[in-house]
Symmetry: C2
Subunit: 342 residues, 2 copies
Amino acid sequence: MAEPTRSPAHRYGNRPTMKDVAARAGVGLKTVSRVVNGEAGVTPDTERRVQEAIEALGFRRNDSARVLRKGRTASVGLVLEDLADPFYGPLSRAVEEVARAHGALLINGSSAEDPDREQELALALCARRVDGLIVIPAGTDHRYLEPEMRAGIATVFVDRPAGRIDADVVLSDSFGGARAGVAHLIAHGHRRIGFIGDQPRIHTAVERLRGYRAAMEDAELAVDDAWVSLGSTEPERVRQATAAMLSGPDPVTAVFAGNNRVTVTAVRELSGRARPVAFVGFDDIELADLLGITVIAQDAAALGRTAAERLFRRLDGVDDAPARTVLDTVLIPRGSGEIPPA
Amino acid sequence: MAEPTRSPAHRYGNRPTMKDVAARAGVGLKTVSRVVNGEAGVTPDTERRVQEAIEALGFRRNDSARVLRKGRTASVGLVLEDLADPFYGPLSRAVEEVARAHGALLINGSSAEDPDREQELALALCARRVDGLIVIPAGTDHRYLEPEMRAGIATVFVDRPAGRIDADVVLSDSFGGARAGVAHLIAHGHRRIGFIGDQPRIHTAVERLRGYRAAMEDAELAVDDAWVSLGSTEPERVRQATAAMLSGPDPVTAVFAGNNRVTVTAVRELSGRARPVAFVGFDDIELADLLGITVIAQDAAALGRTAAERLFRRLDGVDDAPARTVLDTVLIPRGSGEIPPA
DNA sequence: TCGCGCGCTGACAACGTTGTCCAGGGCCTA
DNA sequence: TAGGCCCTGGACAACGTTGTCAGCGCGCGA
């Protein structure tokens, strides 16, 4: 009558299951399930017995098994670039809040701006059968997600549009924001304005550069190639780019930075200069108010919230055509953008 | 011979399963499993047939089912206070990197500094059967996790110790850091030093206050109750606290801030003052270098990394006694802490 | 009093995967 | 040539839960 050794696949440190609870309470398996899920049709007395058994055994429902049976995981995935970037923290948090309101958990993953890693992550989340996916693309080709989307995984892109597939996307107005920022510098008398952006693979980088060019063109100002620099946001790269456009025979008198990573380095570089240089940066930054940095602010939390709401509408069965939502940006003048040309 | 309607529980938009792949490839179910998992013992020819069927059907293994069978979810949970706080972003990212190196995904949740929400989140993660849990406690009683830990969910606490249970914890040296920061102010001639901290429920807040008191005591300086303020990090609260200790008959000449949230508000408040006030803050902040803010820096990424490494060592079966790891802090003088008393 | 219906309960299958085990066939050796 | 072994493949059960359905007992109406 010795207890046979448990199945070798048994892990979880031998946690009690509903079966164990049922045995202890002297009821059927399904009755335990009913109690655990608060379903109707259980006598108060039976319910009490089951509850006692649950307490005594320290039972907790295995949601892994539940998921398998129900077909919904009540979880959504978020693939972003880098959670350590202060732009993405609030975005992720906003997504989490919406998910929470819908009873879902959030699985985060950072692509580190690497398209392969983005794909690997997104597909891993699909294999987990997240109900939905929010992606901040690193790559430019998302056809790899088509089978997954067809198979029922709702997908929304944020901050940058999907590449080569038709899908929901929520964006900030990068073009308009950059154009307004550069126009602001022009309005303050600048004619030679530098632009330091992110890698040209990235949609927002291209859009903001386009905004810069549009503002210059609006004012009928020619753009010298030496004033424009796209590339990684590595501090050293940005430092050199900044230094380069401030030296030479025809230095810029103002700089527009394409995002928050560029801004922190560019501002450091500019602060060391004798001659003041006007500056406007895309993205607001904490303490930028104290430093008097003029920025084009986008609302990261609103991006995340809007995308998540779109996602859950899809999960609720709304099935209209993929939509593009564009959120406005705001120019916040704080001093650096109002410096006149030297 | 009409196709019978599929089982009503069938979701996932009718994704193909291994069974479907097996049928199409004309092989057994287990053979598909072998191919998908790269197990040995399949002829190249059979493998090719299976691969083709997988491609054709767009099959992707359902990790939910896999998890159920294998007993390991290859995921870890992280309960923190607020992902939007720039202190937690890098911490979370560091945990994610370690998890990734171990092939695990990370599920994030924010407690919003609410003990009930912390518990709800942590238990939800346990129900998902995460392999391990990293918790930045909001509450002070974690006995609710005992059954889970006994049942095999490895748990490590970060930034603040667990309450009323014995568990691994990774901390920064809050006491030593605060003491060093306040001693630094004293060394620059200050005798009346204010302390603005977080809520007294929070361990780090208490430790840092203790460090403040120790430094004052070391220098044989009495502490006036009016110089000490604990409470929420709401800007309005911090603003008032700062203003209060700077007014009155015996105003402080220096302020020590208990964390980054307090710092950003206190620095704003101080910057508007005519009379310069010395300042040291706990936690480094982006752009603090440009603002000349002296800080006690802790390494958020190292906290996360250390905790995650500890967690995965546990998951690898290491079973020694719960340990407390304390990471050093660094004083970074940048000007604000070196201002002499007015 | 009998029959019917309803409220409660439990047996059973299914979700999609993996571990175990056995069968069949080909090849090598004695 | 027979026997044994290895290699490949597949049938089956199990992971822990929930949906379906049937049965039981009791109360109420005719």
